[in-house]
Amino acid sequence: MPLETESRAQIRALISEFRPNHGDLLAAMHRVQHEYGYLSREAMEVIGEQLHLFAAQVYGAASYYEEFRFEPPAAVDIRWCSGPACRARNGGGIRDAILATLRVPMDGQTEDGRVGIRLGQCIGTCELAPQVWIEERATHTNEVVGELNAAKAIKIARALRDGATAREVLGQEVLRG
């Protein structure tokens, strides 16, 4: 048996409580992604060993869900709300404005990994439509910026692209002036 690499050992320790045939796969994948930001091939192999699944089965399940990623995430993600209340107030224009500003497709990120945009599903805070969430990985920030329009969305995207932190964006400094 090959020597366990340090990272494999760490992942194994992280998911040691999960058992095969016990409905633990989602929880194990969430645990790893919360810690590392994404599911690496190595992580999926370790999860498979822990839960007595082939790595392909783990990947098959993971790739089915919107939430799991296989590449490191951006430092900050703009989560664009795709719900109807937002859509009724130019949500589509807001999406296109952010994509054009960042020059990335939906679920993509800038080359430097600073900022990405991801499709978001309605969470029922429609009193603030149209909205995006700002998700910052390092601080586990996840906050709504509501009552947007396309111009404000561009300002947010530009600020994040140019190095602003989630905190600065959420303080709405970038929207003033």
Binding site: N21, G23, A27, Y65, Q121
Partner: protein, 640 residues
Amino acid sequence: MVSANPTGTPLERYEALKAPAEAAYAAWRAPERARIDVAIDTSSLANGAKATRAAIAARIAETNATVDLGQNHGYGMQWLQPLVTITFPDGAAVVYGPVKAEQAAAIVDIATGRTPATSTLAIGTVAGTREGIPSLRDHPFFALEPKTGRRLIHRLGLTDPENMQHYLGTGGYHAAARMLDRHQSPAQVRQELIDSALGGRGGGNFPAGTKWNFLATAPGDEHYVICNADEGDPGAWVNRVIMEGDPHLLIEGVLIAAYATGSKGGFIYVRDEYPLAIARLEAAVREAEAAGLLGDGVLGTSMNFELRVIRGAGAYVCGEETGLINSIQDGRGMPRVKPPFPAGSGVFFKPSNVNNVETYANAPMVVEHGAQWYLEYGTERMRGTRLFSFSGDIQRVGFMEIPFGVPLAGVIEACGGMLPGQQLKAIQSGGPLGSMLPAREVPNLSMENAPFSALDALMGGGGIVFLGDQVCTIHMAEMFTQFVEEESCGRCTTCHGGNQRQTEIIRRTIAGDGRHEDRHNLALIDRTLQFSNCVHGQFSPKIVRNTLRFFSDEYERHSAGRTCDALECEGLIRFRVTNQSDPRLAEAQDICPTAAVIGGPGARSVDDALCIRCGACTDVAPNALVREAKPATPRMVAIG
């Protein structure tokens, strides 16, 4: 933390839990000194409740105010979030909102008695009275709620959802304890449910008691109860409200179902987008276990029941029960052909029962008060009350608990009508697999399934979105076609292929390239999709079908007429500079993300080929540019 009593009958053990809880809750409701409860729920947090709470805490510390700080769940008026409740020593409780961080000082002053309770921020009292402040129950938003008070969500705003003592202290778990004390056999519980006519709240309205009978009579002794909390319909957040606002109510409901169906295990499958609901449920499950209400030997009986919270990962179709079951058991959450139904083969291929959050949450009421009490509200076909969330272009966005059958017109009135300057154009209900109905049908609609079904529509799981006349229904239909396409699991060719084609046609129409044969082809896709194996495929063409039927003129204007009157559809509109001397025009040029505003001062114009129609330019310079219909261009005619 509430801990278990080691001896006694189930009811004695329950009473031992309840007595201290009741005292604690009474003290909370009539505190020695005033307490400020900031609503902490998904809506309030989005509106800045954390900053509000921090500012209030800072103000209390800074002024040495003799005031406590707590939390509750919002009352339903989301347009007034962040909501804050002040409970005075005499037990009177006043709700204020919106309380932003800047109003923290004013709120603390009211709580200390330095300034009177009447304030421009005061909305109403939820307990006791205060001169000059109306009862919150008299607020027009709640005009349709039961006159005798809320039933399902009666604790919201009046308890701390993270405090189990508040649940116990308000009669929680009594129904379960009495039942376990051999007051009712499993069969009697199921019969009570059947007598109450409680229907499945996911939208189907299938009698819950009958469904429980299927599981109870299934072979083997390894049965499971599963709660579908994968509330994925955009615009619906009623399950979230129950899970965040009263998590033990759902746990008690699932516990009752487990008893009634002989289940040893249970799962609550919550969508990933609800982290607060997941956290509160997980904590509540741990507390209930510690109190002996879950786990081995529930309240000292021979009943063992392990309840687990499963966090989904963003797959809409896991809201279909077989998809949800596959998702729990380590796999891709793909629906499968039924039968076998879950009662025959469910999670881990064992007999299972799947119900919606609200269905389970109604069970404690039915068991506690009996079927007759439950039948008091609702209609012949749909009994009881249900939660609805209302959003879109209305004045008051939020949720309420109303009896089935109230007229939709009354709902719109309770929501304060449409926003200024807007007329109702469409009613979107039932989520992406639901429907879109025109405003002219409002007089024919009431809040139950039948009038919606009569129009080939679906009332659905509780979310209703009111769309104003600035919305293009074709543009809105595209949102839903894209949604159902992306969320198709891919098993049925009809569904994954059909929905791609459906989206392509709607997109092409939006791009200004509608074709004469599209209507025929959309109908063909619709018919083909009916051969899909699950409701996702079968219901996915419904919104387009509704649009073609009820907004036929608007569709034809797009397809044949190349015109979007709402000025939304990208291929049918353009932006044009109308005022070269407007100083904001330079700002518009700067904000444009594609540099489509070209030229120097006095000679700026929009390059139509670069313009993506995002509208940022008119956001910053509404008087310098205009969004207008694109003049018709000569069309290429295919030959041969």
